[in-house]
């Protein structure tokens, strides 16, 4: 088909804005909402594409708080909300373990120049961190993952934000690099977080699919 002769195909709404709306809106209204915006976008784009583009982004940004609020009122979202509270508590526990137990012990051991004990402390922290991250992965997968979507789609939508929070907190908690952490160790703990979360979520997702 000749693209120039078909304004419907030529003017496509901003894809990223579409994705934001799609991610925030409930399943039953998502299609209609995107369709309405697309319809109005086409009409505006005939006059000015730039204005239509700005209008679409304005709609996306203006709609976001309402869509989030509407989602928070559903039972599924309330479950996710409670899940997030548990995740925050689990993260705080991991941080407390890192700061109070591991680092203080490591500081003492480093002062006494005892590398084997330092390695053991690091290993214990490593295990605690991995279990915590796996627990978060299980929780998010149980509460938010939809079996109608693919595993990676679910991961991008629901697990990625939790993962980012965990990684940032893990990095912040490893501020005192000279005593407890090296760059390689930081990379290893980030890898441990992501692997254990993804693996745990994948197991839960597969089990739910089989049921």
């Amino acid at each position: 088909m000749d693209r120039d002769s078909d304004p419907i195909i030529t003017h496509h709404p901003p894809r990223f804005a579409e994705r934001i709306i799609s991610a925030l809106s409930q399943k039953q209204i998502c299609d209609a909402l995107l369709g309405d915006l697309s319809e109005e976008f086409q009409a505006k784009a005939v006059v000015s594409r730039r204005r239509a583009w700005f209008w679409y982004w304005g709609q996306a940004m203006g709609s976001a708080p309402h869509l989030i609020f509407a989602r928070l009122q559903t039972k599924q979202s309330q479950k996710v909300f409670f899940g997030l509270i548990i995740i925050v508590l689990a993260t705080l526990f991991m941080l407390a373990w890192d700061i109070i137990v591991s680092r203080n012990s490591a500081r003492m051991v480093a002062a006494a120049d005892n590398p084997p004990v330092l390695t053991v402390i690091r290993a214990i922290y490593f295990i605690v961190l991995s279990i915590g991250a796996a627990f978060c992965g299980i929780l998010v997968a149980r509460l938010a993952f939809s079996i109608q979507r693919t595993y990676w789609h679910n991961v991008t939508l629901y697990l990625a934000p939790v993962f980012l929070i965990l990684v940032v907190l893990a990095m912040l908690s490893a501020w005192d690099r000279g005593l407890v952490s090296t760059s390689a160790y930081l990379l290893m703990r980030t890898g441990a977080i992501s692997l254990s979360m993804l693996l745990a979520a994948a197991i839960v997702f597969r089990l739910r699919q089989r049921r």
Binding site: P13, L24, G35, E39, H66, A70
Partner: protein
């Protein structure tokens, strides 16, 4: 004064949405309802706010929705039409009755604003 439960009356925006549904009759889907409110009430409305309100009204049993056809300009996406239920009509009538009763008193000593 004792404890009184908050009455479940319609909000201002809900009244505007229900009025738009009544005006548009069988052609009441999101984009048309939004344009109707913007044109007549001169009020800027985001699509998300409209759908959130329509969802709330549907949960209350005041409107019901059904899926309509898809067009190319909508990117092949379906429309969602909304109509008032008898309960919605009743609630709307009650709200408008109260509003009219109040406005009668007000218009006796001031002018109705025009834009």
């Amino acid at each position: 004064m004792g404890f009184m439960a908050k009455p479940k009356s319609l909000g201002e925006f809900e009244i505007l949405v229900l009025a738009a549904l009544l005006r548009l009759e069988k052609d009441a889907y999101g984009a048309r309802v939004r344009t109707e409110i913007e044109t007549r009430a001169k009020r800027s409305v985001s699509a998300g706010a409209l759908y959130a309100t329509l969802g709330r009204l549907e949960d209350k049993g005041l409107v019901q929705s059904f899926t309509g056809g898809a067009t190319a300009e909508r990117g092949g996406r379906t429309k969602r039409y909304y109509v008032l239920t008898p309960l919605g009509q009743e609630k709307f009538d009650t709200a408008i009755f109260g509003l009219n009763a109040m406005l009668k008193g007000v218009t006796a000593w001031t002018e109705i604003p025009t834009r």
